[in-house]
Each structure stands twice: as structure tokens, then as C-alpha cells.
Amino acid sequence: MTASAPDTAAKPARAFRVDLKTVGPLLALALLVLLGISLNENFMSYSNLTNVLARSSFIGIIAIGATFVITAGGLDLSVGSMAAVIAGVMIMVMNWLIPTMGIGWSVVLAGMAAGILLGGVAGVFNGLMITRGRIEAFIVTLGTMGIFRSLVTFLANGGTLSLNFEVADVYRPVYYDGLLGVPWPIIVFALVAIGGEIVMRYTAFGRYCAAIGSNEQVARYSSINVDNVRLLTYILQGVLVGVAVLLYVPRLGSASSTTGVLWELEAIAGVIIGGTTLKGGYGRIWGTVVGVVILGLIGNILNLQSLISPYLNGAFQGVIIILAVLLQRGRRTS
């Protein structure tokens, strides 16, 4: 209800721009969909769309956490490595529990719990270093990025950690099955997104994130416990990485040192394409969802055509990302 209030203010010239700011990411998405349709008739097929959305769900869930972190003026570069280490530990925990618990959902649930817990702990660690240690978020999470990545390489002995095949069979449906034909990852992504939107817009926590990102000092003088709110954003981020990994592990049943490489960049890019400002103070969950889907579609479209040399995939991606944001550029005029 309140969210768009600050924007309606503007003059006619602005009004148009501001409109673009909100509609921009959607417009970019629509254009991409049109491009997809024109390139391949299977693009709009149910299976293709669910494939893309299900794949985007990991990054999407992580990016929703990142939206809170960034809105509050922070940054978390460690999410990709964190995902890898969580996946690795989940697999090890499940494999290790088989002798005691046998094959079945109980093992999987225990693994899931371990994953979420580890995510939370990692978030607490990042958050405490940043808030209590007073070290720049960039540095802390660059450091933990290296630490987590090393850890999973070490645990996997440089190779791949594979989930026991029988447990993997139990767990597989979590990625591949769904409810009424909608795969679970999409459902979970949607739920997290809706939850995130509610938290961002209709809770004190969300408001506090924006306040802190906008002006930390004002937030402090308004009796907001800045450190705790900020800490919470990192914990939330960690837990959401955990949730994303819960959906990732059943897909391939393995984790290695390459798991989650560059996810942080993709997540941050999704957040910013969605209209959240990197400097903090303004965050938009639904924008993030659109941003992440845009990124997912770019990859999909590249695979659906043969016009562009695969060597130039990155260039295509780069151009689309810039264009997507160009469509909402009114924003930075201030």
C-alpha cells in the first residue's frame, strides 16, 4: 500500500520515468519472452518454462536474501561458496546417517535441517564480523567466500561429494516432482518471494532495512538497533542459501568445488536488475524475482538458438543486462 507513495510525487516528465522504473524490469522481461517466442516455438511450452523457473529458483531464493542485505546497505559475496559448503555438508551428513537411520525420509530431513542450520550459522558468522567486528562487508564476505570454497574443496578432497544413490532416489522428487504439475522448486521460490515481499513491505524489519541502508545514523537516532537488524539480514541470507541448497542437492545429488561458483554475482545482478539500489535504502523483492527470471531466460534463449556463436554468449548476456536496466534508468537522476 505504502510502497509506491514516494514516487507518485513527481512532475509529468518524471512521472513517465518513474513509471518506467517500476515497469522497466517487467518490460525487459516481456521483450525477452517475445524474443524467446520468435526464436523457438517450444519456448512457451510448459516444460520449458518450468525448466527455466525451476533452475532459477536457487539463485532466486538466494537473491531474495540478498535483496534484504543490499537494502540495508550491506553485501554478501560469500553466498555461492556458502551454498557449496552447505551442499557438501548436507551430503556428508546424510551419507553418514544412513547406517544409523537407514534409507528414507528421516535421513533426508536430517540433512535438510543440517543445511538450514549451517546456513544460519554461516550467516551469523558473516553478520557478527560485520556488525561487531566493524569490518567492511565486502572484505568479510570476500574472506568467507574463500574460506567456504576451500572448505568444500577440502571436504571433497578436490573432487565431488556424491549422495548415496538410494537416499538420492528418495530425495530426487524434491526437485523433480511438484504439486499439480508445478515443480517444488518453483513453489518454494514463489513462497519465499511472497514471504519476502510481505516482510519487506509490511513488517518493521523490512522498513528498518531500508532505513538503515538509507541513513544509518538516522536509523540509530530513531532507536533502531542497527547492528541487530543488519545481523539479521545476514542470518536471513544464510538461511535462504540453506533453503536454496535443499532444492539443489536432489537435482544432481552431488557437490564439488565448482558448485555455486559465481552465484553471488548472479544473485546481486538479479537484485539490481530488479531495481534495488546497490547503495542501499531501497529494495524491491518482486523486482528481484523479475531480475532473476530475466537472467535465467537469457541463458535459456541462448541455448535455444544457433545464431549466436557460443563464444559470444557472454556478450549477449552483458548486452541484455545493460538493456534491462537502461529501460528503468530514470532512477539515478537524483
Partner: protein, 513 residues
């Protein structure tokens, strides 16, 4: 320039039938304005009347929607973004406009650095910065970073910056809002020195006595309309106020209701020591308005911030309603019914990029929860209340707070603080930048609060305000308590004597002994 003294001085800068709209919202309607060399031309008007907008147009920061600007008799389009400075038109913004990371000397010379062989002449800039600061009697190291300065010192840096530019037209938007009497006098000396040299000065202030003292002519704006331009000789503070507000202003200060002699002490501070505060003790009784006076940097703000838990307290005891209180964080003091309203509305008070509503409720969001979620309609009701109570005028209710006029920002901040319904309110420069009409309203609100049994600490650099409202006045000097005045002792000269260190309180000696 040198021919300033003579008879009909030529007009140096004029605005001709200037109108301005932000989007569809008109702010100025066909306003005429002019200024001559050597003259001080004041602009007055209610909050949101369009004063800042007018002078922004006169300095090129904003472009008029219609109408024209003449400079030296030529119709000109002023270049944007302060580039008009190169033409001799210098503006001190109402909202302080300094980069927090830079040093004082870097700020003063920003955009017009002194160079030698293409490189910055750091030594000369530092020396000249120091000279400017000394000229203004400010004790600030030219190498100090802006973010370590108090609001008032920042204002003095702004003034030094403006003076350092070779202005032909110097425009000052409420430069004295955060200055105390002594600093204001220093500023006036400088203004007189400049006008004597033929500089034209446009001066905005809500302090009518300052206008009377300084200005040659006064232009009154109301709701974006030009009401009149009159020579100061023909005016009294009352008549100005009437032109501004459009009605008679009687009794700026409400009658004082002395609190009961045996009213309980609600807040007692003993031997408080903190950053910038040395051994301060005072009591606040129920229903009392306790004024805090002192020069810039005397530590009044520091006391308040240490009491409410915004700054670390390194010693001393605080007793709230007879019970010892230790506020480690502001939230605790707010919960205990003790609220502090900062004087730094831009840096500490308001989220400039957000709307009125989130700003108003930020301190008290918990009151607007329904089943744990924010209740937009409850927030909207709060805003309605605050708008009515404090006469917050936003021509567009959804505007980002940063675009409100300065005075309306201040009123919103008052509303925000009062939202927490505190029993004890520490107000730091509560009427900073507020027009006389609203000031009167706010004074009545303060008095009414006291009469209801709330207690108020009023930190103000406006001597009249302290005198007019306070039951007792604490005067601070260099982080110490210089004296406490009561009843008939509360006079301007007495306060000044303590503040300047000419007189020392025996009371204080007793405490520190």
C-alpha cells in the same frame, strides 16, 4: 563595485515575473525581486512559502518555469549547478551542503582550488582556511574532517566557504538557524564588511529581530505570491509577522505556568561525564521546562545524547522517576518515556529519500503493528494527526521528505518525536528554521505539554526562546555547567555572562567540590 555608497544604486540582480512549478505543483507565482550592490535584502515568509526556491532560481540551481533573470542589466540564463559562482553569485544552501569526508580546508576551496604549477597549493589553502575561520572566531582545525564537526561548526564552514568566494551577490538561506547569538553577531560583522565593499546580500531568516537589524529592504512571500517589498525603516517585527502570516500575531510566548514547588524530580543527572561533557549535574521536575543555553559547542547536545544513550557515558548516574536508569541504547530511553529530538535533521533526523509517513512512524513502528504486520491505515492516521497538530505543509503529501521546505521538515521531525508520547522530551533546537507563525504554535504546544505534566528540556540557541519558555535555564560552557538561572535571573545578559565565562556559578562549584 566600489561605487556602492552613492545614490540610486544600480540593480545588480533581479528576478522578473518568475514562476516555478515542480511538476504540476506551482510554488512561485510571478514574483519580482531585485537587489542592489551594498544592500541587504531579506526574504521572509512562512515555511514552504517559496523562499528557498526563489533564491535557488536566483543562483541558477533551479530554472524558472517562466519569467527571466537579469544580471548587471542583462537578461541571462544562469548556468546550473552552482556554476553561477563564477559570475559572482554565491549561495549558502539552507540544508547544509558539505561533503562529510572532506576536511574543512578542502570544503572551503572545493571547486576553486588554489593551484601552483597545476598542483594544489595545500599550504596556502590551509592557511587561508585558517584565516577565514579565525575571522569568524571559530576554533576549528582546517584539517578536521567535516564529519567530526558539530552542526553549528559546519554552518560556520559554509559561511567561510561563501565568504571566501569573491561574491558580488551573496545569498544566504537561513544561515543563522543553528547559530547562537555570539556566532550570529560575528556573521553580521562579516556581512557588514562585505556590504561596505559593495557586495549585495540576500538574507533569509525566520528571526525577525535579525531582519530588523541587518536588512535594508524586506520582501515578503506568502504561498508563493509576492506580498510586498518594503524598506526596513517602515517596519516593526509585528508588522512583518503580520504580512507573513496574514494575521495578527500576539503573544509569541504563552504565559508560564510555574510547576508546583513540590513537583517530583523526574530526571536527575549526577556528575555526568561523556565525550564533550565534563561533570554535569541537573534535575528536571515534572511539568518543568528546563532551558539549556550556551555557545556553539558548549556541550548541550553532547549532554542530551549521553543521557538518552546515543553516546557513550563514561561516568555519572541518571535517575529516572527515582529509579536509576542506564540507557545503553536509545530504544531503552524511548521505552522509558524519554525522547530526544536531534537538531541535525538532515544527518540524523530524517530519511530524505523516503516519504512523510515512513519518516513519521520510524521511531514508533511498533505502535502501528496489527497481527505483527505494519498497518498502513494506522500510519496514515498518525500522519493526519501530525499534519494537523504541527501544521506540516507539503503541497504534495507523497513527496520525498528531502523535497519538503526546511521548516516543514523540522515540523515533521517534531511530529516524529512526539509520536512516541514521551513524558520527558529533550528538544534540540526545536524551532530551527520554523516561521514565526508556526513557532508560536509550537511554543504553545510545548507549554501545553508542560502544563499536562510532561517535562521538557529545551536546548536552543535562540536566546529569546529559552527565556520566553523556560522555568529554569542551565547555561553550559565548554562542556561544563556554568550556572543555573531561575525566575527573574533569566535574562539575556545574565545568560551571556555565564555562557561567555565572565561569571561562574557557586552552585557549580559546590557540585564539583
Amino acid at each position: 563595485m566600489s561605487s556602492a555608497e552613492g545614490t540610486p544604486a544600480p540593480i545588480i540582480l533581479s528576478a522578473n515575473r518568475i514562476s516555478k512549478s515542480f511538476g504540476e505543483i506551482p510554488v512561485l507565482f510571478s514574483v519580482d525581486f531585485d537587489i542592489c550592490p551594498g544592500e541587504v535584502h531579506a526574504i521572509i515568509g512562512e515555511n514552504g512559502a517559496g523562499k528557498s526556491t526563489l533564491i535557488k532560481i536566483l543562483s541558477g540551481i533551479e530554472q524558472p518555469t517562466s519569467g527571466s533573470i537579469s544580471y548587471d542589466g542583462q537578461t541571462v540564463v544562469l548556468p546550473p549547478n552552482g556554476a553561477a559562482e563564477a559570475m559572482g553569485i554565491v549561495l549558502i544552501h539552507q540544508e547544509q551542503n558539505l561533503a562529510e569526508h572532506l576536511t574543512v580546508s578542502e570544503s572551503i576551496f572545493l571547486g576553486r582550488e588554489i593551484k601552483r604549477f597545476g598542483f594544489l597549493d595545500l599550504r596556502q589553502m590551509r592557511a587561508r582556511a585558517r584565516a577565514f575561520m579565525e575571522m569568524l572566531h571559530v576554533h576549528v582545525d582546517p584539517d578536521a574532517r567535516i564529519n567530526t564537526l558539530s552542526v553549528a561548526d559546519k554552518q560556520m564552514v559554509e559561511i567561510a566557504k561563501a565568504i571566501s568566494r569573491d561574491a558580488r551577490v551573496l545569498i544566504m538561506d537561513e544561515p543563522t538557524a543553528v547559530l547562537s547569538v555570539a556566532e550570529t553577531q560575528t556573521l553580521f560583522e562579516q556581512i557588514r564588511r562585505l556590504t561596505a565593499r559593495g557586495v549585495a546580500v540576500i538574507f533569509i531568516s525566520h528571526k525577525l529581530d535579525e531582519i530588523m537589524e541587518l536588512a535594508n529592504r524586506v520582501t515578503v512571500l506568502r504561498d508563493g505570491q509576492l506580498i510586498a517589498t518594503v524598506g526596513t525603516e517602515a517596519l516593526t517585527p509585528d508588522s512583518i509577522a503580520q504580512m507573513m502570516v496574514g494575521r495578527e500575531l500576539s503573544n509569541l510566548y504563552p504565559p508560564k505556568h510555574e510547576p508546583d514547588v513540590d513537583a517530583p524530580v523526574v530526571l536527575a543527572v549526577h556528575n555526568l561525564v561523556a565525550k564533550g561533557v565534563r561533570d554535569i549535574s541537573f534535575d528536571l521536575r515534572k511539568g518543568e521546562i528546563l532551558g539549556f543555553a550556551g555557545l556553539i559547542g558548549s556541550g548541550r547536545t553532547a549532554v542530551a545524547e549521553a543521557v538518552v544513550g546515543l553516546n557513550h557515558r563514561s561516568g555519572g548516574d541518571i535517575t529516572l522517576n527515582g529509579k536509576p536508569a542506564h540507557f545503553a541504547r536509545v530504544a531503552q530511553s524511548v521505552d522509558a518515556g524519554l525522547a530526544y529530538m536531534t537538531k541535525d535533521r538532515k544527518g540524523k533526523g530524517l530519511l530524505l529519500n523516503m516519504g512523510l509517513r515512513p519518516n513519521l512512524t520510524l521511531l514508533t513502528l511498533n505502535k502501528h503493528l496489527k497481527f505483527g504486520f505494519l498497518d498502513g491505515s494506522s500510519e496514515a492516521r498518525a500522519l493526519e494527526r501530525a499534519v494537523r497538530r504541527f501544521d506540516i505543509r507539503a503541497r504534495d503529501a507523497a513527496v520525498a521528505v528531502g523535497r519538503l521546505s526546511g521548516g516543514n521538515q523540522q515540523k515533521l521531525m517534531l511530529g516524529k518525536t512526539m509520536e512516541s508520547e514521551p513524558d520527558i522530551i529533550i528538544m534540540d533546537e526545536p524551532t530551527r528554521g520554523i516561521d514565526v507563525g508556526t513557532k508560536q504554535q509550537i511554543y504553545h504546544i510545548i507549554a501545553a505539554l508542560a502544563a499536562e505534566g510532561k517535562s521538557i528540556i529545551l536546548i536552543s540557541s535562540e536566546m529569546q526562546e529559552v527565556i520566553g519558555l523556560s522555568h529554569r535555564v542551565v547555561v553550559m560552557r565548554e562542556g561544563r555547567l556554568a550556572g543555573v538561572l531561575e525566575g527573574a535571573e533569566i535574562t539575556e545578559s545574565e545568560i551571556m555572562r555565564y555562557a561567555a565565562g565572565i561569571k561562574q556559578s557557586e552552585h557549580h562549584d559546590r557540585i564539583s567540590a
